[in-house]
């Protein structure tokens, strides 16, 4: 594992999640939830392919103080040409584990799952600590984010976070149109989504 020469951003959270349409609402929940908690979500969208991509992923992990690894997509991906499991999330979790092990003060990682006890079977090397279980629900993601990241002051509540989520969700079509994006899982759409989430969150907080 190469040493990180770059700066670690204290508020940055690396999001290791699947980019597929079935995960759209949870993807949005992670972004809105993290922004509401005052974090800067970072994803691997828009990174180049090939070996350079792996270097870039490592750089992103090393630049973040925290990482979230959602292992809820363990089913076979049946898209042709082959039905295969998706190895990207466990692979990137492995990278983060190695990074955290060698730099425990710089990085902390969290594992999220939809079902309790499943990770003990799918990835038994992680046995010893329970993952955070969101049950595949938006409110579950918000709840577990609040459990994972505790602010001594100004800790948002789950209903407040859900309100922000719903306000952002209502404007998804507009955000996509502004970004000229066909999918939410595009770098430009992510940036716009992050900015709008931040703005809506601030607006809600100023009202309350």
């Amino acid at each position: 594992m190469p040493r990180n020469a770059g700066k670690v951003t204290p508020n940055a959270v690396f999001l290791n999640i699947p980019y597929d349409q079935g995960f759209r609402s949870l993807y949005l929940a992670y972004i809105v939830g993290l922004v509401h908690l005052g974090f800067e979500p970072r994803v691997t969208l828009g990174l180049p392919d090939g070996t350079r991509r792996l270097d870039k992923i490592l750089e992103v992990i090393q630049g973040c103080s925290y990482s979230i690894h959602d292992l809820s997509r363990v089913e076979l991906d049946r898209k042709p040409p082959f039905a295969t499991p998706r190895f990207n999330m466990p692979f990137e979790l492995g990278l983060a584990v190695a990074w955290e092990k060698s730099n425990p003060k710089k990085h902390k990682l969290f594992v999220f799952e939809a079902k309790a006890f499943r990770v003990q079977k799918s990835l038994s090397d992680l046995n010893g600590t329970d993952p955070l279980i969101h049950r595949g629900q938006v409110s579950g993601v918000m709840r577990e984010l609040c459990n994972a990241f505790v602010r001594p002051t100004n800790q948002p509540t789950v209903p407040e976070m859900m309100r922000a989520y719903k306000a952002v969700y209502r404007h998804l079509a507009k955000i996509m149109a502004y970004a000229g994006a066909e999918s939410l899982f595009e770098a430009r759409a992510f940036r716009d989504l992050y900015f709008v989430s931040k703005g809506i969150t601030e607006k809600l907080q100023s009202h309350s």
Binding site: P10, N11, L37, G38, E40, Y66, V97, E100, K101, K108, L109, F110, V111, L126, G128, T129, D130, P131, L132, N147, A148, F149, V150, R151, P152, N154, M162, R163, A164, K166, A167, V168, Y169, R170, H171, L172, A173, K174, I175, Y178, R191, D192, Y194, F195, V196, K198, G199, I200, E202, K203, L204, H207
Partner: protein
């Protein structure tokens, strides 16, 4: 290794700081601000379904049928 909870004390960045860190131009920020300003954050929460305005949902179709 795997964490359950951490206490966070880092300051929360402002919208301007977020815009700058994302490298969004002022014009783009202004365009996105229209969405933020126009967002009806007081609208009551819906339980299920797509809530994008103008999009037909099962519920909206059912209600329209009832009205008819």
């Amino acid at each position: 290794m795997m964490n359950r909870s951490v206490i966070v004390t880092t300051p929360i960045p402002s919208l301007e700081e977020v815009g700058a860190s994302l490298g969004l131009s002022k014009a783009r920020q202004k365009a996105l601000m229209q969405i933020i300003v126009g967002s009806d954050t007081d609208r009551p929460a819906r339980r299920r379904g797509v809530t994008m305005s103008g999009v037909e949902t099962k519920r909206s179709r059912r209600r329209a049928a009832k009205r008819r």
